[in-house]
Symmetry: C2
Subunit: 449 residues, 2 copies
Amino acid sequence: MLTEDIRNLAIDIADLNQLKLDLNGLQPVDAGDYIAQLPQKKRAIAFRLLNKCQAIDVFEYLPPDVQEDLINSLHDIQVAQIVEAMSPDERAELFDELPAGVVKRLLQTLSPEQRQATATILGYSEGTAGRVMTTEYVRLREGLTIGEALSKIRLQDKDKETIYYAYVTDDNRKLVSVVSLRQLIFTFPDVLIREIASDRVVRVKTETSQGEVARIMKRYDLIAIPVVDREDRLVGIVTIDDVIDILEEEATEDIQKLAGVSGGDEDALSPPHVTIRKRLPWLLANIVLYIGAASAISPFQGVISQVPVLAIIMPILANSSGNVAFQVVSVTVRGIGVGEVTPKDTIPLLRKEVMAGAGTAIALGLALGTLSLIWSPPQDRWVSVIAGMVMVANVLLAATLGTLLPMGLKRINLDPALISGPLMTTTLDALGFFTFLSMISFALNVFKG
Amino acid sequence: MLTEDIRNLAIDIADLNQLKLDLNGLQPVDAGDYIAQLPQKKRAIAFRLLNKCQAIDVFEYLPPDVQEDLINSLHDIQVAQIVEAMSPDERAELFDELPAGVVKRLLQTLSPEQRQATATILGYSEGTAGRVMTTEYVRLREGLTIGEALSKIRLQDKDKETIYYAYVTDDNRKLVSVVSLRQLIFTFPDVLIREIASDRVVRVKTETSQGEVARIMKRYDLIAIPVVDREDRLVGIVTIDDVIDILEEEATEDIQKLAGVSGGDEDALSPPHVTIRKRLPWLLANIVLYIGAASAISPFQGVISQVPVLAIIMPILANSSGNVAFQVVSVTVRGIGVGEVTPKDTIPLLRKEVMAGAGTAIALGLALGTLSLIWSPPQDRWVSVIAGMVMVANVLLAATLGTLLPMGLKRINLDPALISGPLMTTTLDALGFFTFLSMISFALNVFKG
């Protein structure tokens, strides 16, 4: 509904005064959405209507391509002002997307302090705490009083991304303790910081993965977490808004990877060629894998001619165990993703999945056995017993592999979502077909001669 | 790694003094984890070692069954103290899980104020802003100065879940504006609140769904959002820690529902019978649906006997278009989930998926055609042309349905993840088999018969 309001904004750029009022009155993210959906040529016109503070805020919310666009069409001085005012982590994110030449030009316009901050962040690998942190935070010395601390905070730049916690460091910049703004304003001004600061400071290292940072902040209900280097010196903080983005991104990755979208980072509205590049490899890999499955069936063509009801039973068998595998893999991968289970829980998890799998296997085995009985011509009814038995075995196998494979990947520090649903399904198809047809063929040889 | 430290804690309850020191020195969530994993009888012993503040904090982090357990084993007075000190939203969540008799007893021990707060929250439907909000927040009158506001905040209960924003209301308790604690401490004490408060207050209604609340807070980077009733009167706030839980819960739901786990709320380590109840219905429904697919194939048993290579081609055909459908559905459902696409984007999304689908369809059609050519005996090679064509048609259908079905469900306000992957896959199997076998059968009649 919010988006609707924006779309209804006077798009008539002729009435610039009204548009100026509207855009400066909107929340920055809404103004950003409005500007992003304008035709390319009108974006710079609309953007110039923003007053300075709003312009800086709005710029941070624009998608990278629109940001780049504006950098090319605005005056250099205006660009320099905006980029200087961005928070270091947002700026690092922007620089990641821009062509190297543009980044070089922009870096030269930055103040030495901001240039250093950006270089620090860009020095850490993607996906780590060092890369998503901001270098703007409040740092205090242990010896201060509350009153002195508050005065110091008041003197600092008001744009600090979060001043809700202040971090206390020793003479070597090592992180010692933390105090919240809440505690500061609730305590008498002449009390010493060290008397109220808590030395139980949950912290992460610069190389901690962003997913781990997010899980730790979630666990301890933090709105910011300090990031320290190997010598335990404070170098930055990660704030809660980044954590929400990280958790959403990781959930999207899990979902898409499970469905066989490589990278797990496809945007719903990305261009078709990107979509094809992300999805086709898995589909083709799957067909190649199916060649294996097919060569498992191929020698049995004679059997299928003899007992054509098999062509009906086989897809149900494959489909059901594939579905069971998909359920197990999804629950396991997500359980690992949210930190509900770790490799230590492999045994209890396997026990649970095998017990649940046994119940499921019996139900599905009976269902398939019954259906096969109904569909088979009288002389082929014996097939239904084998169908039911293979279903039970295949479902149990699905439950076991669906638990062990993601847990095993996690244990060796790989992404558990690499077990994509489709490949798992195809593998189970191949095994199921082969077992089923071998048993049928054996029975045919033994009983029918 | 954090969890490891806890597991290594002196479990030897004999050394109670050491354990007391350890437990009171831990972060509340870690102490909670330690207590939760103790044998039932030792939990109350360990819990009694906590000092009062730590006990209250730890209690909020315990899982509901352990909370219930402690309520039954601790002294009534201690229980009353803890429940009184809980934040109203956590208390409402606890009451949701407890037997009605226990809730009634606990309600009677509460102060009138806290009883009212809990009753208010429990009065709203599950999954709405009213149900997840807390009634503890800072409310100010417009006429105050900054100095008066800060004094007032200092006088209030320090346990307020968030004092980082204060909400300004008029004489009828209607929400007028918002001011951050940051603004308060940065401004001279004699300035009036109304001069610095922002009247662009993003708010939600009590009946707004929790997912919507989470998306709005994420969009505007808020750490708390005010909740108003139909008359726009302030009744509570939702805080960022709840939002993270909501977003994680919704992502888990999407993943599990797509994999055919009903409700989408299965815990990885839930007991087997719960697992079976959540998963078996979809598997059986799927087999029932497969009866449809099978009756589509059944009349063609003769055809399959004549051309046994069909039994190899058909699973690949079904499997591939099923996989395409799964990819499309997953990307679409997640895109809707994170608010990246809305029903308004149906046309561009469909255009993109059909274009990507066309590319994919041609690649897969050629692959299947080629494989069929290789596998078929010389007299059956014509089958490969039909196999390729049906693959193209089925993949395009998968792309179309995979986009339109979730978007359609969203448009009529149903959960887009209701299109579970397995049912979608089975439907496409049935259609693919029927089309394929009909065409083969037609060709056999025309050219060979």
